[in-house]
């Protein structure tokens, strides 16, 4: 039983928790998130929080781990004209939570709302490829593309922007008069900076959530989040970075809680700049690949909360099961490789040099990110032991973004985008100069060919050719040493023991609250 605050009881003053918090034993789950859920427009980005958008709004097709798709608001679909359009049969009897029927007209009005705001979605190839949508009848809709684009269905499964709000709340300027979707939850109340309250959508077409209500308290600090879990003020912590590794380990050994890790969701890595001295030398990149003790980083810095990454994308992503392995950690071999390339340690010196130029790299990270800082320091130590000097540059996120755009880095931390963006959307972005990946690859002799084949793999309709092109791309990038994969990001869930085991969603921000229940 949850302890009632003593002073409130003594004072006779009712404890003025939100009504939902009071009822937390009677079908209310309590969760926390660092910021408020936002206005919850399914077609827009910040400050809308993706976990909440996924609760209210549904896609036509849903992504399942491993890259397959299952029916959601569409029960069947078919490609036409060599992949230039898709016809969707819509699920019958679905209504938005305001009672408006979900039909072909609703799909068309949402697609048009997204297309009216195309520049906002320029990062997503799908939106550039969509030509329009038309209702064939009340339950059938056709989506026309400008050309074949194989990831179209995958990108329709994204949390945003192609999900569906009730046409009754859509405004001409793209905003909503209220957040109304077809999903298993409705937003009942928002107190900015304090909490968001979701209630079960009683008219939901699918399996209804076990809990009546979900209270999401705004908790910015991870230590406070852990303490709130201990006091029972929240039931659950869930996410990739909602809790630090030490605290996760502590909860894992406490019998009052259950701590679990999801399968790999994305990759934490260092991009190595092939267009900038001294990492423009392939021997230096290969020495870095073999000279950093990845296993030690995972064991000591990440406390084993993320599996070590051998490749840019984990093998549970589509087209990525290629059997590639990272170079074995071998400090002597890395040093020998540098020796052979002419990088010598000067007498009494600790940093190698060639032609009078020292072997020093700028290792850039976000200063406020304690984990990146700890990883950077460990990497600096490993590199120093093979005679590579690493200058640590910790800056705010904005400045770090600027370096990624300009290529002003030697090594820089980054993550892949995770399911369902990996590998196709992440690789698509490698062609844009504003991404660290483009900058890191810019010095490779194969760069033009890499970009050409990325373009080809996104538009080919030949599955065998797609498989082969991905194999070439991923193998080439793997061998080039422009990435040092560190670990695979996982969602970490810590729950109180009175909650049944928490399932994981297929993607990073799809939290299956609807399948959570009391034990």
């Amino acid at each position: 039983m949850r302890r009632r605050p003593l002073l409130a009881a003594l004072s006779g003053v009712p404890f003025l928790a939100p009504a939902a918090a009071k009822a937390s034993q009677g079908g209310t789950l309590t969760f926390s998130w660092p910021v408020s859920a936002g206005p919850l427009n399914p077609h827009l980005y910040n400050p809308n929080q993706m976990y909440a958008q996924a609760m209210l709004y549904e896609p036509l097709v849903r992504y399942v781990e491993g890259g397959t798709l299952e029916p959601a608001l569409a029960t069947a679909w078919e490609a036409e004209r060599g992949g230039r359009s898709f016809v969707f049969q819509l699920r019958q009897g679905v209504r938005f939570s305001d009672g408006t029927p979900f039909d072909a007209a609703a799909v068309v009005s949402n697609v048009e709302a997204v297309l009216r705001n195309r520049p906002r979605h320029a990062w997503l190839e799908l939106i550039a490829q969509i030509d329009g949508a038309e209702a064939l009848d009340g339950g059938t809709v056709r989506l026309r593309l400008k050309g074949p684009y194989y990831p179209a269905l995958l990108e329709l499964a994204l949390i945003r922007p192609m999900r569906f709000a009730s046409p009754a709340v859509l405004r001409p300027d793209g905003s909503l008069s209220a957040p109304v979707g077809t999903g298993p939850w409705r937003l009942a109340e928002t107190v900015r900076g304090a909490h968001d309250l979701f209630v079960r959508n009683e008219d939901y077409w699918g399996d209804k959530p076990a809990a009546n209500r979900l209270l999401v308290r705004v908790l910015a600090d991870s230590n406070s989040r852990a303490l709130a879990l201990e006091t029972g003020e929240i039931d659950l912590i869930y996410g990739t970075d909602q809790i630090d590794a030490d605290t996760f380990r502590r909860f894992a050994t406490d019998r009052r809680f259950t701590a679990t890790l999801s399968p790999p969701l994305a990759t934490r890595m260092l991009a190595v700049n092939s267009a900038r001295f001294p990492t423009d030398d392939s021997a230096v990149r290969q020495a870095i690949a073999g000279g950093i003790d990845r296993a030690a980083l995972v064991r000591h810095v990440l406390q084993g909360t993320e599996p070590a990454a051998e490749t840019l994308f984990a093998e549970n992503f589509p087209y990525c099961r290629l059997g590639l392995r990272a170079p074995a950690f071998d400090r002597a071999a890395a040093a020998a490789r540098l020796d052979a390339a002419g990088w010598r340690l000067p007498a009494g010196g600790r940093v190698r040099a060639r032609d009078g130029r020292p072997l020093s790299v700028d290792l850039c990270f976000v200063g406020a990110d304690a984990l990146q800082k700890a990883l950077a320091e460990a990497v600096q130590g490993d590199l120093a032991r093979i005679g590579i000097g690493a200058r640590l540059i910790g800056e705010d996120a904005g400045t770090s973004d600027g370096r990624q755009r300009s290529g002003d880095f030697g090594l820089i931390f980054g993550n892949t985008w995770g399911a369902p963006y990996d590998p196709h959307a992440f690789m698509g972005s490698m062609r844009a100069p504003s991404h660290a990946d483009f900058q890191a690859q810019r010095g490779l002799t194969e760069k033009a060919e890499i970009d050409r084949r990325i373009g080809a793999v996104l538009t080919t309709t030949d599955e065998a050719e797609r498989v082969e092109t991905y194999r070439w791309l991923l193998t080439t990038l793997h061998a080039s040493g422009v990435y040092f994969p560190i670990s695979y990001l996982t969602n970490k869930a810590v729950q109180r023991a009175d909650l049944a085991p928490v399932p994981f969603g297929a993607t990073r921000y799809e939290i299956p609250f609807d399948r959570m229940r009391r034990a």
Partner: protein
């Protein structure tokens, strides 16, 4: 008194003008590209065309002074722009979050006075005896402990171990107790030592001998001639510590999930949300200066030498 008030209000307006310009210039002349920050927060892909459009719409392509004058023109009409992160008007955001912070700061001042004044007087009246030594140790510890650490210790003891008080949120009268103590701890200890020193100083004043000669009761002498006179320096310190309390609230609000302006500002700092930061600094400067104005008025009321401009 009216002249005194008018002079202080004129000073306040001048100060706001200077602070707003200096901060505006610091934000614009610092590292990084505001247009890029805007696009990053709005999650608009930062193409060259988008950057150029952002610079134009935000006025970043105009000279700094012109940008500032435009901002000032809007600010005088209570329009501080829109947050780049939430897209809401900054004035609305401040109006939403400031009351919680003021409530916390007021509770912290109360804690500060309840601890600092009585214990300071007690320590002075028991000089070099155990109450004085005990409060000295307490004050030493109090000023040395960072407020975020104290906040976590309080939560561990009163919420996790004893279960007496909520660890997070602003859900009822009890939820303010721990945040107020964590916010006020350092200032309360400084207040305690200052009250002690000030009371000791007042106890040595020659006019007390005459008061005793007039046959006044010890309680009257202490109350009217010692404590009242000794309150002037602590009151000045109270004004100065308002800034300390508001700054401390930024950290404490984050630990206790207190939905105040400090936590909102922290998010704005992390996001480099320029309009929000500019509005925050302006609001905090106003609150800080107004609090000091009130303290000065009290000071003038307590000490006629101040309002008459006589040497102390």
């Amino acid at each position: 008194m009216l002249y005194f008030l008018a002079r202080r209000i004129a000073g306040l307006l001048l100060l706001l003008l200077v602070v707003s310009f200096v901060f505006f210039a610091m934000l614009r002349l610092g590292r990084g590209d505001p247009a890029l920050d805007y696009l990053r927060l709005a999650q608009i892909p930062p193409t060259e065309a988008a950057l150029a459009a952002a610079r134009e719409s935000l006025g970043l392509d105009r000279p700094l002074v012109e940008q500032y004058l435009t901002w000032l023109d809007h600010a005088l009409r209570f329009d501080l722009g829109r947050s780049w992160y939430t897209s809401r008007p900054v004035t609305q955001e401040i109006a939403h979050y400031l009351p919680a912070t003021l409530q916390l700061a007021a509770a912290a001042v109360l804690v500060m006075l309840l601890v600092g004044v009585p214990f300071g007087i007690w320590a002075a009246l028991r000089r070099d005896r155990w109450p004085d030594n005990a409060t000295r140790i307490l004050a030493f510890i109090g000023v040395s402990v960072p407020n975020f650490w104290l906040a976590f210790l309080l939560v561990l003891l009163f919420s996790v171990t004893l279960g007496w008080l909520p660890a997070i949120g602003r859900d009822g009268p009890t939820s303010i107790i721990l945040p107020a103590i964590a916010t006020a701890a350092m200032s309360a200890c400084v207040m305690l030592r200052l009250v002690r020193t000030s009371v000791l100083g007042a106890l040595g004043e020659p006019h007390l001998r005459f008061a005793r000669a007039r046959g006044l009761a010890r309680r009257t002498i202490l109350g009217r001639h010692v404590v009242l006179n000794a309150m002037v320096p602590p009151m000045t310190m109270l004004g100065l510590h308002v800034g300390e309390l508001l700054g401390g609230a930024m950290v404490v609000e984050t630990v206790f999930a207190w939905p105040g302006i400090g936590r909102w500002a922290l998010l704005a700092i992390q996001n480099r949300d320029y309009p929000a930061l500019q509005g925050f600094v302006l609001a905090m400067t106003t609150v800080f200066v107004l609090c000091n104005l009130v303290i000065d008025l009290l000071h003038a009321w307590l000490d006629p030498r101040v309002r008459l401009g006589l040497p102390a």
